[in-house]
């Protein structure tokens, strides 16, 4: 886990994994991902939107994280992408934390590959996997109130990238097993689907 370098050293390897409160180095990541053997670089930026479902006039988001586990889970996403697309060049997965206002970049995925097809596919896989497997939560503040983001996913492991629960457990990625009156949704244990 690294705090986001702000003009600091670039990563030594081919994965750039970072999360922190600084402005994300989007253009630096794009330039870093260019490789002689890669003819395609896809960059995805998630930006703070001024509305959410039933929430108009969103002014800012506050992101919080299980910080010690963000690095390992982002690493797992990069590893899973490389298992699916072994020819990938570089992979940057950067997530901003703390308070962000409308228009600011909250997440950056940059993937380079020899050809555009795998670059697009891998970038799509990475952003979907980041949203489903990395322990980060957003609180939305809008014109009439403030509450946790409604568009949330039960946290799950990236397929094949992490050790599962111990043998005595009742499965990976499951819920707490405490029953509720309404039954609640079934615990999600399915891996992230390959693209």
């Amino acid at each position: 886990m690294h705090d986001v370098p702000l003009g600091g050293d670039l990563p030594a390897g081919d994965d750039w994994i970072a999360a922190g409160e600084g402005v994300l180095p989007t253009s630096e990541a794009l330039a870093w991902a260019v490789r002689p053997g890669c003819g395609a670089v896809v960059t995805f930026c998630g930006t703070v939107r001024d509305h959410a479902e039933g929430r108009h006039g969103v002014t800012h988001l506050d992101y919080e994280a299980y910080l010690e586990q963000v690095g390992p889970r982002l690493d797992a996403v990069a590893r899973a992408a490389r298992e699916r697309w072994p020819d990938l060049g570089r992979v940057a997965l950067l997530h901003r934390l703390g308070r962000l206002t409308v228009g600011e970049v909250s997440v950056v995925v940059v993937v380079s590959a020899p050809h555009r097809g795998e670059a697009f596919d891998a970038a799509r896989f990475c952003i979907d996997a980041v949203k489903e497997s990395v322990p980060i939560w957003k609180r939305e503040t809008w014109a009439e109130g403030s509450d946790w983001g409604l568009c949330a996913h039960d946290v799950r492991d990236v397929d094949g990238a992490l050790p599962g629960a111990d043998e005595a457990g009742s499965g990976r990625g499951g819920g707490t097993g405490v029953p509720t009156a309404d039954g609640g949704p079934a615990p999600v244990s399915a891996p992230v689907e390959p693209v």
Partner: protein, 80 residues
């Protein structure tokens, strides 16, 4: 009785009024039950929808705990 380090995040931390606590229990289920008793019905309702990790790895209700294990309750995530 063994004591786990409970970690709470996002909405479930808000319901508990804390991001961390010491909770007794020999299994995940016991720790979660003790936390639900301590923090009340709203906490318990959300806890039932949370993933649970022990020392950063996915776990289930029957997962046994050692002294000082870190048990994290993870509400549905909303990064990105």
């Amino acid at each position: 009785m063994r004591v786990a380090r409970l970690r709470l995040f996002g909405p479930i931390a808000e319901l508990a009024g804390t991001r961390g606590d010491q909770v007794p229990g020999a299994t995940v289920a016991q720790v979660v039950a003790a936390a639900c008793e301590r923090y009340g019905d709203a906490f318990a309702r959300l806890a039932s929808h949370c993933g649970v990790w022990v020392n950063g790895e996915g776990a289930g209700p029957a997962t046994p705990l050692d002294e000082d294990d870190e048990v994290a309750l993870l509400p549905p995530v909303s990064g990105g």
